[in-house]
Amino acid sequence: MYDPVIKACSHVLIHTPSFVRYGSKPSREIDDSTTPVLPAIETHLRSFEEAVEYPPNQVFIGNLHPDRLNGIEQPWYRHPVEDASRYGAYGEIMPEEEFLGLMKLADDFDLMWIEKESAPMIKKSLQAHPFWNNSDLGKIDAAVEMARIHDKIENQGSLPLYCHGRIVGCMHRHHEKDDALKAQVLMENLMAKASGALALTHLLKKSDIRADEIDLLLNCSEEAVGDRYNRGGGGLAKAIGEMCGCVSATGCDIKAFCVGPIYALVHAAGLVKSGLFNKVVVVGGGSMAKLGMKFKGHLAKGMPILEDVLGGLAFLVTGDDGESPSIRMDSIGKHDIGSGSSQQNIMESLVLKPLDRMGKKITDVDRYAVELQNPEVTVPAGSGNVPLTNYRMIGALAVLRREMNREGIDRFVLEHGMPGFSPTQGHIPAAVPFLGHAIDAIKRGEMNNAMFVARGSLFLGRMTQLSDGLSFLIEKNPGRKAPN
């Protein structure tokens, strides 16, 4: 059997400015600061149109190639894309009012109430979406009076839901004594489920595959589903699959900090190659906790708060179809526990070892996708330009291997790398936002291969000082006819 292929992918963004206040960093600052933080946040939020026109967001959904960012003057938020569409080749940018409706559709435990006056607006906006115009939106109709919402917020630990500056509903806690089921945690989980479902719906439409053909779902979102006895031990894979009609699939979650999507794709490829499963979906929803994570840096620089979107990703891995790019099964690069933790050790494990195994040079790989955090988000907050540093490290390895001289590093970065364009949503920037562009460019014959390299911070959980990473290479399908 030939190597598995990535047959389709989807990349979506959801503009959620009213949820920035619930991001981990903003909510702590709002609670702790002696000066009013919330008004400052609110005056620095972007409109939906501004989020759609933002060049990196247009790259994310596939309307612009990442290289185009090299030709747009920074700051990119001051150079909007003219006539930008919310829909792109790989997905869409969804506005908040539609997403609130989608959250309610994802809600199987009446965790979320929609206020009566706002329900028609939310329902109407979701009905205008091509994917939900014929759907049963009855859940949204079951709206409640504002007085009951205020009572829940004031007396029972529910959190208000906002849209365009007004309360449109609330999210409840589901157990009085269980912090794993408090309103903020359930909101985070429900948003991951709904945004994952949006990504999967786009994938199913784009791949022209029936939902009941999927036999396994692997969710790589970064939320922690569970109750107080198993905090984070649960998962969203089947919840997302159920919402999208994948009735023949089972599923589980694969968590690995920012490397999650790469681990999930490698598992998917292995399971397809082994014949255990035939059509495997890797899906990841967005992370509410990371909204506004670097907002203080943005406010200090007088910038809009750019971390106002959730990301969502979905990929379909199947057996060889003779046309989609293959995941080379001999290309997996891993960072072993005993590999050493210097930057050089990590990059050698993830890039050089697999290339040596395949008999390739560093410069034989057309494009490297690394952690693709948008530098316009990270640099003002003092976190640096993550992709650029990673590309320079790969270039430095090529210098050490005498594939080029040091003066060639800048050119290497330009030709084999790309500017970061992904929101800083943990697992979302993990190299894979380039998959759509890579698959299309390989199919068009503009590229032969691309390597996807993601790194994770295991130490954030305080259980080990280790870091992590995983990589794989996709390449042009040789177009062989698979043996019967």
């Binding site: 203080k296 840096g297 200090a300 210097s342 930057q343 050089q344 640099v379 003092g382 976190s383 640096g384 330009n385 650029l388 540093t389 320079r392 490290m393 270039g395 430095a396 210098v399 050490l400 040091r406 590093i409």
Partner: protein
Amino acid sequence: MDTEKQAIIKQLVDDMGTEGLVVVIGAADPEVAQVTAETVTFGDPSFAGPLAGVSLRLPVYHILEPEVKKVIPQDVYKEQAGFLELVANTEEIGKIFREIRGKARET
């Protein structure tokens, strides 16, 4: 600069004083290195960590500056910092650090 590292530096200064204490920074990214250097010189710019409002004015160098390189045995330097030297823009980093030390002397 994260709050844990700020706490370590502050503790060292509390225990030993600033006399004879030099901070050497290793971040390859110029912006990250700059923020770190400014934090140990003028205090935490985000006013979030233990160095908020604490202007230590410690002499600060980057590992890739010649002043540091010349006092480290060549083989050790090559092994520990050789890769970083290839990755980083050493000219830009040198300029940033000279400016920060100059500003610390002036104020």
